[in-house]
Symmetry: none
Subunit: 216 residues, 4 copies
DNA sequence: CATGAATGAGTTTTCATTCAT
DNA sequence: TATGAATGAAAACTCATTCAT
C-alpha cells in the first residue's frame, strides 16, 4: 500500500467516514459500501488505497491515535504540583478533547475491544500499536508529577501510576457512555464525573503520600 | 425456543463447544459448523435448540455467567476483616476459578467487547444481563466488609467500592492476558499479580481509613 | 404405503389437519410439523403412514375429493326441468356444501393451482385424478337435464355444458373468496352470487334454446 | 432496490431467464442459481439487483405483465362491430401473442396460482397488481363494443362482460395446456379452440341481444 | 406401532474484493 | 488514478426425512 499515491483530501474523507462507521457499527458490521458512500468516494478507491477492510481499520486506528496524541497537551500532565490537581487538569482537558473528538476517542477506546473481529495480522498490528503507545505515553504523562511526590515508604511510583491509570480509564469509560447518551454534552455536563474521579484520586493521594506532605 | 425439548448432555456439549469457539474466534469468526462438529452434534440441532447463532451466543453467555456466579463463594468476600485480606482472599479465590474455568471467564470478560458484533436484539439482551448482574453482585460482594471499615471523614463507601472494583477489574484483565499466554499456569504463577493488587489495595486502605484503624 | 396398517382415527385427524394446513399455506409453505401437531400425532407417524409430504398431499387431496363427491347429491342436477332451475338448485346445494365443508372445497379448488409445487410424480397423479374426475362427473351431472333441453339448431349439448360449467366455476371462485373474507357466512349471504349466476344462465338458456321453448 | 443502477441488457437476460425458470419450475422449485446461470450473470448480481428471490419474482411478474399489455392492441377489442367478431378477432390476436410470448403468458397465468408459494409481502403485492390490472383493463377492453350492443330487456352490460370474460379465460386456459403439450404450435393449430369459443359467444350473443339485432 | 429428537443436504443471502473501463 | 458493477466464496438457516427407542 505504501507505493500508492493518495489524494490527501480523499484520504481525509475516507478516514473520517471510516471512523464514524467503525465506531457506530463495530468492525464486523461496518460496511465498506457505507464508508465509501459517506466519504464521497468509490468503494474501489478504498481498496486501491488500503487493500482490505481490515487494513483500512488499522490505518484508521493509527491515524486516529496519532491525531489524538498530537492534540494532547502534555503540559497539563507535567505541569501540575500534586496528584489531585494533575488529574483534575488532565481529566478536564481530556474531556474537552473527548467532546470535541468524540468519534476519534470512541474509536481509540473501542480498538482493544474490536481485536477479535480482526484477521490475525491486523489483530497483531493493532495490539502492538496499543502496547507501544502504552509503554511510551503512560510514564511520560504521569512521570514528571509522580517524581515530585513525596511517597510513603513502601509505595512505589509504579503503584501510583497504576492506580491513577485505572481511575483514569474508568473515568474515560463513564464519559464515553455519557457522551453516547448525551451527544450534545459540554464539559460542564461531565463535571460530576470529574469530581467523582478527583475524590478517588484524593483518597489514593492520602494513601500514597507521607502524612506531612498529605496536605494541599 | 423455550418449548424445545433439549437433551441435557447435548446442551452441555454444545455450550462447551460454543464457549471455546466464541472465545477463540469472537462471535463473528466463530462458525456454527465448527461448534457443531466439536460438540459432536449436527448443525441442525443447534438451530433446532437455539434458533440462531446470535441466540446461541446469548444462551452460551448466560449459561456461563450462571455457572460462574454459582461457583462463586461469597463468603470469601463477606467473611474478611479488612479490605486487604478481603481482596487478597477474593483475588486468589477468583484466580483459582479463572484457572479452572479459563474459557468461561474469558467468555464473560469478552462479552462486553463482543457487543457490537451482535445483532441489535441480542446486543440489548446481553447488555441488559450485564447491567442486571452488576447491580446485583457488586454491592453484595463488597458491602459487608466495607460496612465494617472505619472510614475517614469525607470518604464514602461508594468511593471505596469504586476504587476496589477498579483494581479488581484491572487484575482480572491482567490475569486473562497472562492465562492466554501461559495456558498451563497455576495459581502460584498468578501470585505476583495478586501481590501487586494487594499492594494497591493497601494504599487505598491507607488513604481511606482513619489513622488509628490504619494499622493491621 | 399400502401395506401399512393405519389407525382410522389417526388417519382422520391427520387428513383433517393436512387439509387445513395445505389450504392455509399452500403445499410449499405447509409444514409437516404443524400438520402433525394439529393432528395430535407425531411427525414420524405421518411419514410412516404416507411416506412423504408430497404423497400426504396426494392422499389428502384424493380423500377430500372422495368425501365431496360422496356428499354430492346428484339428484339436484338430474331432477331439474330446465337449465335455469337446475343451475339454481345445483348452485344452492353446492354452496351449502361449500359452507359446511369450506376447507375441503378450498383444497379441491386449490389443487390445480398447486400442481407446480409438487414433485413430478405427485404432479402427475393429482393431474390424472382431476382429469378422471372431470371426465366422469361433468357429463353425469349436466347430461340428464341437457338431454331434455330443446336446443336450437347449431347448438350442441357440449357447448351448453361448457358454458354452464364455465359459469359454475366462476361462481365457485367468487364463493370461495367471499367465504375467505366472511368465514361465518351462511347460504343466505351467498344468495347474491347465486342470483347473478342464475341471471347469466338465463341468458345462456335464452341463447341456446329454441324460441318456443324459451319460456319458463 | 430502486436506486441500484442496472445494466438493461443484464436485466433483460435475468428477467428472461427468470420467466423461464419460474414457469418451468414454479416459484419454490426455481433456483436462483439456475436463473443466474442461464442469464449468464452471477448469483450475486441477481441479489444486487432484486434483493431477494421473492422480489425477483415480483419484478419478473410485473415486467412480464407490462410487456404483455404493451403488446396488446386494444383496437382488436374496441374496433369490432359485434360481440362475435370482437371475440373472434381478440382471441385470434391474443393467441398470436400467446404463441409468440408463450413463456410470458404462461407466467401471467401462473401468477395467481403461485401466490401461496410467496412470502406474505410479495403475495400481497402480486395480488394487488392483479386486482389493479383487472379493474383497469376488463372494462376498457370489452366496454366499447358492449356499449353498441342492443341488449334485450333485463340483460345488463355487466352480465355480458362477465359471460364473455368467463369464456375468454376458459379459452386461455385451454390454449395454455395445448401449448404446453405442443410447444411448436401455430395459430392455425389453435383455430379449433377459437372456433369453439366463437360458437359459445354466438350462443351468448343470441341469448343477450334483442331478436331483431340477433342477426349478423 | 408410534415417537420426536436429530440429521444434513440444499438454498438463500451477504459483502469484501476484483477488474474492465 | 478512480469507478462501481459484477463476482462468488462463505455462512446462516430450513425442514423433509430418518431411526433408535
Amino acid at each position: 500500500m505504501k507505493d500508492v499515491v493518495k489524494d490527501p483530501l480523499k484520504v481525509e474523507q475516507i478516514i473520517k467516514s471510516a471512523q464514524k462507521e467503525f465506531v457506530d457499527q463495530g468492525f464486523t458490521r461496518a460496511k465498506t459500501e457505507t464508508i465509501a458512500k459517506n466519504a464521497g468516494v468509490s468503494k474501489g478507491l478504498i481498496f486501491h488505497y488500503y487493500g482490505s477492510k481490515a487494513n483500512l481499520y488499522y490505518e484508521t486506528f493509527v491515524t486516529t491515535m496519532e491525531m489524538i496524541t498530537e492534540k494532547a497537551d502534555l503540559t497539563v500532565w507535567t505541569g501540575a504540583e500534586n496528584l489531585e490537581s494533575m488529574i483534575k487538569n488532565a481529566l478536564i482537558y481530556k474531556m474537552k478533547l473527548q467532546i470535541e473528538y468524540k468519534t476519534e476517542f470512541a474509536l481509540s477506546m473501542q480498538a482493544y475491544t474490536s481485536l477479535t473481529e480482526l484477521p490475525e495480522l491486523e489483530q497483531q498490528k493493532v495490539a502492538d500499536y496499543i502496547k507501544k503507545q502504552m509503554a511510551e505515553y503512560v510514564p511520560m504523562m504521569s512521570g514528571p508529577v509522580i517524581d515530585r511526590l513525596n511517597l510513603r515508604d513502601g509505595v512505589t511510583q509504579e503503584q501510583v501510576i497504576s492506580l491513577v491509570g485505572t481511575v483514569g480509564s474508568a473515568v474515560q469509560d463513564k464519559s464515553k457512555v455519557f457522551l453516547q447518551q448525551h451527544p450534545e454534552a459540554t464539559v460542564a455536563d461531565l463535571q460530576p464525573i470529574v469530581d467523582e474521579a478527583v475524590a478517588l484520586i484524593e483518597i489514593i493521594e492520602h494513601g500514597a503520600l507521607k502524612p506531612e506532605s498529605d496536605t494541599k
